[in-house]
Symmetry: C2
């Protein structure tokens, strides 16, 4: 068996990566969105990275995988007593990674090295790789102007109508050696675009110069898994944003977002009727259960996606 690379972010992405990790362990690399990173109280928060670390290490709260289980809020309560910000709930445990990340970045360590160190400490054998060590910040263009993704997501509660996105800093961001090595690996078996918002989770990763080119080399099949089931985002605002961008909020529309980049697309059984439309655009389609409610769902979907990639790879070999 070869190596597998996942492009990921958000909770849905973390769940599929967890399934892949349970199957492949150290032969998995996850390239994680950092466009949603932000600074708060001078600390560097990397929500997509931390969610994935919590999930892969088994620390995550089952009900709220973006934070460690048994979270408490003693620091936050005291912060309020001292006149600190009232609006954002900072869990005690959730502050640990940002605090250490901030300190190590201040000591001139690379975000990638810090994240890999976190993996080692937590006993995660897969490689969790930030999409870049440079600052890329996703901004949401709304009818009232441009706001950071973090402000859109928390303060504005995803309410303003979205007109577009802006990935500030992306044009100057550099691929890291670790990301290049993972995507350029001789034994690369599959690249999986995890079920996550295509605009502010997967797209920022693709915006890092060189990332699309590495994918287009087609060293291995590139498979995307839909974040939209039955016209609804499983979690988050993907469907809302798609309709505001005047796109159909559907799985097949997500496939079009990845046109010329992916070989295969995984849609939910609920959307099986749309499979032919996607196939018509030259993308192979797997219909599967994409809703991951249990740990078994995660490994089942991961297994199905990897088998789908192998089918595509074998067909390619036959055609060659």
């Amino acid at each position: 068996m070869g190596t597998v690379v996942a492009l990921t972010g958000q909770v849905g992405g973390a769940k599929l990566v967890d399934g892949l990790y349970r199957l492949r362990g150290k032969d998995l690399a996850a390239i994680v969105n950092t466009g949603d990173d932000y600074e708060h109280l001078t600390l560097r928060f990397s929500p997509d990275i931390d969610t994935l670390l919590y999930v892969l290490s088994g620390m995550a709260s089952p009900a709220a995988p973006w934070e460690p289980a048994g979270e408490s809020h003693a620091l936050y309560a005291t912060l309020k007593q001292f006149g600190g910000p009232q609006e954002l709930t900072l869990g005690d445990k959730s502050l640990a990674a940002p605090l250490l990340r901030t300190a190590w970045l201040a000591a001139d360590r690379r975000l990638t090295a810090i994240t890999l160190d976190f993996c080692r400490q937590l006993g995660i054998t897969a490689r969790v790789l930030p999409m870049t060590d440079d600052a890329v910040r996703t901004y949401v263009l709304t009818e009232d102007g441009e706001v950071s993704f973090q402000e859109y997501f928390t303060t504005l509660a995803c309410e303003p109508v979205v007109k577009g996105f802006h990935y500030a800093g992306a044009e100057d961001a550099m691929l890291t050696p670790e990301v290049s090595d993972a995507l350029d690996s001789a034994d690369l078996e599959a690249v999986i675009l995890c079920p996550a918002n295509p605009y502010h989770t997967i797209r920022p990763i693709l915006e890092v110069p060189g990332m699309r080119e590495l994918l287009r080399k087609r060293k291995a099949p590139v498979i995307a898994v839909t974040p939209i089931v039955g016209g609804r985002a499983l979690r988050g605002s993907a469907a809302k944003i798609m309709s505001e961008l005047r796109h159909e909020a559907s799985a097949r529309r997500v496939a079009l977002e990845y046109l010329r980049l992916i070989d295969g697309f995984v849609i939910d059984a609920e959307d099986a009727a749309g499979a032919e439309d996607v196939r018509a655009s030259g993308i192979e389609v797997l219909v599967a259960n994409t809703v991951m409610r249990t740990l078994e769902d995660r490994t089942a979907l991961a297994r199905a996606v990897l088998a789908f990639a192998q089918t595509i790879r074998e067909r390619r070999l036959q055609e060659a």
Copy 2:
């Protein structure tokens, strides 16, 4: 009644300031040592300020007044999981003030303004004033070289033999308008050097250029309260340090440290025999119970010290 100024730091100092605060409320200003401040994980810790804020606001743990009551360590435990420093216990609640202080300093606010804001938020009507807004750092000269006070106190557990102290940055530190106003106040009634280590708590305050001059103007009696009772420091390493500096570890020796700066000295009943020696050096002496075990002890000692100052003031008026 006029205003009272206390020079303070450590737990003993905070206890006496608390007694003074219970008697005088908003007519009290506490000038606090910041020579023990340090940076850890990019956060700015001001232990003497925070201890005083916890004590005056009633938040302090009775058993460990340098931290809020009901302290927890969820963040610290998670920090260790992520490979963070193992040696220093960071309480969840105790991190709130450093975190907010760091953020507000980064936003170019003055340490004094931040501390006064904390007072307002916590409902403390007295003014808690850092000795300066500038960085002064106390270093301990040991036989093995110079170490920061923080390292001496925590990592080295006060073990190396002390040869002296160095107050880095003191020569360039500036008095704040708030400290000048407090010591220059027309209705100043007493200045009290609280029971605290003379070398690394009271002395750094005195090293801020202009501080000694303001005290020597003698706008009001200056009274010091001994931190040494029966040859022992009530808490901390004062007695150990004094003997290593080849000084007698005694209350009267502390009085000599403040020679020409103080008008009166408060020693414990246990040390009453040493009173004459101190008086011989031209300092008036009050013998009192200086050991503050209960809240009542704090106000009783504060009341005795203020009465002592009034006696000195009245005698001066008679002599004038």
